[in-house]
């Protein structure tokens, strides 16, 4: 039987009238999809190599290129689509596990698009965010059970707080940059995140890659992660960050550990992660010293002792079926914050079948965790940070209303840096200079420009959140937190409404 060729995913159309054979596309494609033929003075495209990253289309000076889904069609089949055929063909060819990058792209319901916000009319007037103070400041950490005040007049003037407060992270906006390891992304990308977090007054997360020495100056805005591989974890690392996050799982691949293909492990990555150059960095599925909730408690307090109780220590878990009781256990184990990462969380490399089929949407997870913690009366013991596919400020404000203290953005941050979600991060050939260590490609991401774009994104979203809050008659994000009354569902079943804890649209108080 002859070899079965696999049809290309994309066709690149070139408008011959506009193409001036300037060869920018040839020079810029890391997959060598465009080739210049000197004899004919023409550029040809080998569509089979195109991954759909749109770098060439974006930079073509005459706009001569259009990247299209391969229009070649199979007979209509509701059960087997082209994607399924391609997967089977590839596995028949290689016998390997299919890898992919970024978050789940399958058409599971997106609950954000079924949740609607309120606005004030007549009885509770809206607030104008451009004319009146609006508070987005968010504190991540354990809050006291009860406030104890001392002294002061009847009206409370001059009273002092008697509680000794646990260490808090102060965010100027309820948005942080999600865990993306140095190794899966380039150092220039990490620098962009660090500079932007520092400038805006929020935090970014190191992910499992350790902390590169060039990033130590931004430690005050860094959350350092301790994952199952313990890559790059040493005393200086723990001291450098403002908080520590123990990663038990991530939304893109619940139940298994991180993947960094050897192609992306160069000198610098090797030194930062403390592993040999060129080896695959496969984190173990569990932490091999955490086999029960008591073990987790032990690790949390070991880290607290090591950093003298000066930094919040949190835990990141994937959103799975039993996320609510697991979260409760984590909070009772002493975590100062718990991060829940949903089905649509991104990744640099994960087995496709796991990314697409394991975990639950973050919308349901937030609601479940927030409700359970409140039921048990321990909601104030830890902050809840949600992650997994936030695309707009609308998604974020809904997440807070469902009960999150803050959200992590990963995919959105990379899109701000130029990512077009071609899902080929694991190859290390990212044309945008983000998910690569190839020096030819990493040059393309200028951290000054990257940081500028991320700060712009945070600013834009913060303003939008203020607008929406003002529209609801709220002037402090705290009033929105867990306020399910601000939300209504549309096109959802009774069970879904019940789990989300929201009323259907049309129903009043």
């Amino acid at each position: 039987m002859a070899k079965v060729p696999i049809a290309p995913d994309f066709i690149v159309e070139r408008d011959k009238d506009k193409c001036i054979s300037c060869q920018v596309c040839c020079r810029m494609c890391s997959n060598d999809a465009h080739v210049y033929d000197r004899e004919r003075d023409q550029v040809d495209t080998l569509s089979g190599r195109c991954v759909g990253c749109h770098f060439c289309e974006s930079f073509c000076p005459t706009g001569a290129l259009t990247v299209r889904q391969n229009p070649s069609q199979i007979r209509q089949n509701a059960n087997w689509n082209q994607q399924m055929l391609t997967w089977v063909a590839k596995q028949a060819e290689t016998g390997g596990v299919l890898l992919t990058g970024m978050g789940c792209d399958q058409p599971f319901p997106i609950y954000w698009d079924h949740i609607l916000l309120n606005a004030s009319q007549v009885t509770n007037p809206s607030i104008d965010p451009l004319r009146e103070p609006m508070e987005l400041r968010t504190y991540i950490g354990r809050k006291p059970d009860r406030l104890e005040l001392a002294g002061g007049s009847d009206q409370g003037k001059g009273a002092r707080l008697k509680n000794k407060l646990e260490k808090q992270l102060v965010l100027q906006t309820p948005i942080l940059f999600s865990a993306m390891s140095y190794g899966s992304i380039s150092l220039n990308a990490c620098k962009s995140l660090a500079w932007a977090a520092s400038e805006f007054g929020t935090f970014y997360n190191t992910g499992e890659g350790g902390l590169h020495r060039d990033l130590y100056p931004y430690g005050a805005n860094t959350i350092v992660q301790v994952a199952s591989g313990r890559f790059g974890v040493h005393m200086e690392y723990l001291k450098a960050g403002a908080a520590i996050e123990i990663k038990i799982g991530q939304g893109a691949k619940p139940g298994i550990g991180g993947h960094l293909p050897g192609e992306k492990v160069d000198e610098e990555v090797s030194r930062t992660r403390m592993i040999p150059v060129g080896t695959d960095a496969l984190s173990p599925a569990p932490h091999h010293d955490i086999y029960s909730i008591e073990d987790l408690r032990q690790l949390i307090y070991a880290l607290k002792e090591a950093t003298r109780y000066e930094k919040p220590v949190g835990v990141k878990i994937s959103a799975v079926h039993n996320v609510a009781p697991i979260a409760t256990g984590v909070v009772r184990a002493g975590a100062d914050f718990v991060t829940i990462d949903g089905l649509r969380g991104g990744t640099g490399a994960a087995p496709t079948v796991i990314r697409n089929n394991v975990g639950i949407p973050i919308e349901l997870a937030i609601a479940a965790v927030d409700s359970r913690l409140r039921q048990e009366g321990i909601r104030n013991h830890a902050s809840v940070i949600a992650a997994g596919g936030f695309r707009t400020s609308g998604d974020i404000i809904k997440a807070i209303a469902l009960g999150a203290d803050a959200v992590y953005i990963g995919t959105a941050a990379l899109v701000a840096l130029g990512c077009h979600l071609c899902q080929r991060c694991y190859t290390g050939k990212c044309n945008w200079g983000i998910a690569t260590q190839d020096p030819f490609l990493t040059k393309r991401l200028n951290p000054a420009i990257g940081a500028r774009r991320l700060v712009n994104l945070l600013r834009a979203w913060s303003l939008e959140i203020k607008e929406m809050m003002g529209g609801m008659g709220i002037n402090a994000i705290e009033s929105l937190r867990g306020n399910r009354e601000a939300l209504r569902g549309v096109g959802l079943s009774d069970t879904e409404l019940k789990i989300l804890g929201i009323k259907p649209a049309g129903e009043a108080w």
Partner: protein, 146 residues
């Protein structure tokens, strides 16, 4: 004077600077016409040097002590009093290439089609910012007071 400053760590080697410089110095100033319809073919005055993954865009430095000004035998190379840039009057130039012989950076090109003349960066007289700087997608060249 305002000069073009090179940051070689961010140059991607895309050569969009060369393309836009060529268009700016063409007759039509339109990219498709400039590439497909003009004779003599316009020349880019910026040159991207590339070796391995190192690259940067190089153009005339408009040196304070410019050797090309001394070597020019027709007097067509002169300094613009306002911008401080070294400019070549291409009409007066006869293409003797003495300037090419002395420029230590090798940033002067030969126009060989049509009338022979030396071709070099003029800081885009008439534009607020040189077009190479305007169109660099990664800010690898900037226009600063130095």
């Amino acid at each position: 004077m305002k000069r073009i400053v090179i940051h070689e760590e961010y140059c991607m080697g895309c050569r969009l600077c060369e393309i836009h410089c060529l268009v700016q110095h063409s007759k039509s100033k339109q990219i498709i016409k400039a590439y497909k319809g003009e004779f003599p073919k316009p020349l880019s005055r910026v040159l991207v040097e590339e070796q391995g993954y190192l690259s940067f865009a190089l153009q005339c430095r408009h040196c304070e002590d410019a050797p090309c000004l001394e070597a020019c035998m027709t007097g067509s190379l002169h300094r613009d009093a306002e911008t401080g840039a070294v400019i070549c009057h291409e009409d007066k130039c006869v293409g003797c290439w003495m300037c090419i012989m002395v420029c230590p950076l090798g940033v002067i090109a030969r126009r060989r089609e049509g009338k022979k003349a030396a071709s070099k960066c003029d800081l885009c007289a008439g534009e607020k910012i040189p077009v190479c700087v305007q169109h660099c997608p990664n800010e690898a060249i900037t226009f600063e007071e130095r």
